[in-house]
Amino acid sequence: MSQQEIFAAIKQDITENDIVLYMKGTKSIPQCGFSAVVANVLTILGLDYKAVNILEDDELRQAIKDFSNWPTIPQLYIKGEFIGGCDIVKEMFESGELQDLLTEKGVLFKAAS
C-alpha cells in the first residue's frame, strides 16, 4: 500500500469509530506498559473502542507516526481527534479533563464510583 492509501485507511478508521487506540499488542494482551496504561483507562471508563495492534503491520506502525506527527505508540483518537500518548491520556484521566472531553464530544462513559 502507498502511504496515501494507508493514511486514507487510518482516516476512515478514526472517522467510523468514536475511539481508536493504536497500540502494541491487543486489548487483552498489551505488549507494552504504556499501551496497557491507556487500555486500562479506557476500560475503567467503560468505553468501547477499536484497538489496532501496530505490531502486526510494519507499514502501519510507521504510517501512524507520520499521520499523527507523533513518534511513539500508543496513540489515542477520540471522534477523529488525536488526544495524545500514554502520559497525556493518564494526566487527563487523573485530572478529569479526559472525562470532560468525552462529555463535550458526546461519548458516553462510566463515571467513577
Binding site: 504504556f34 511513539t72 505508540i73 495524545g84 500518548g85 500514554c86 502520559d87 497525556i88
Partner: protein
C-alpha cells in the same frame, strides 16, 4: 541504549535553556526513562504541543533506539 541520560539532558537543556530539566532512569536498566521539563517555554501550549517540542529536541532516537520514555511537561 545508544543515547545516554546525560546526552538526553544536554539536548533538552540546549533546547530549553530557561527550563528545569531532569531525566531519570525509572528502573535502572537505562531503557525506561522519564524526562521532566518545566518552564516558560511551554506557556500557552497544549500538552500535545509541549510533548512534540520535547520529542523534537530529543531527535530521532525517540520511538527508535530509545524504547520507553515517559514525558512530563508544564509551564510552571
Amino acid at each position: 541504549m545508544s543515547v545516554s541520560i546525560q546526552e538526553l539532558e544536554q539536548r533538552l537543556r540546549d533546547a530549553f535553556p530557561d527550563c528545569r530539566v531532569s531525566v531519570t532512569d525509572l528502573v535502572g536498566d537505562g531503557d525506561h526513562l522519564r524526562a521532566e521539563v518545566v518552564g516558560p517555554a511551554f506557556v500557552g501550549k497544549t500538552r500535545i504541543e509541549q510533548h512534540k517540542m520535547v520529542y523534537t529536541a530529543l531527535g530521532s532516537c525517540v520511538g527508535q533506539e530509545l524504547h520507553a520514555l515517559s514525558l512530563k511537561t508544564s509551564a510552571s
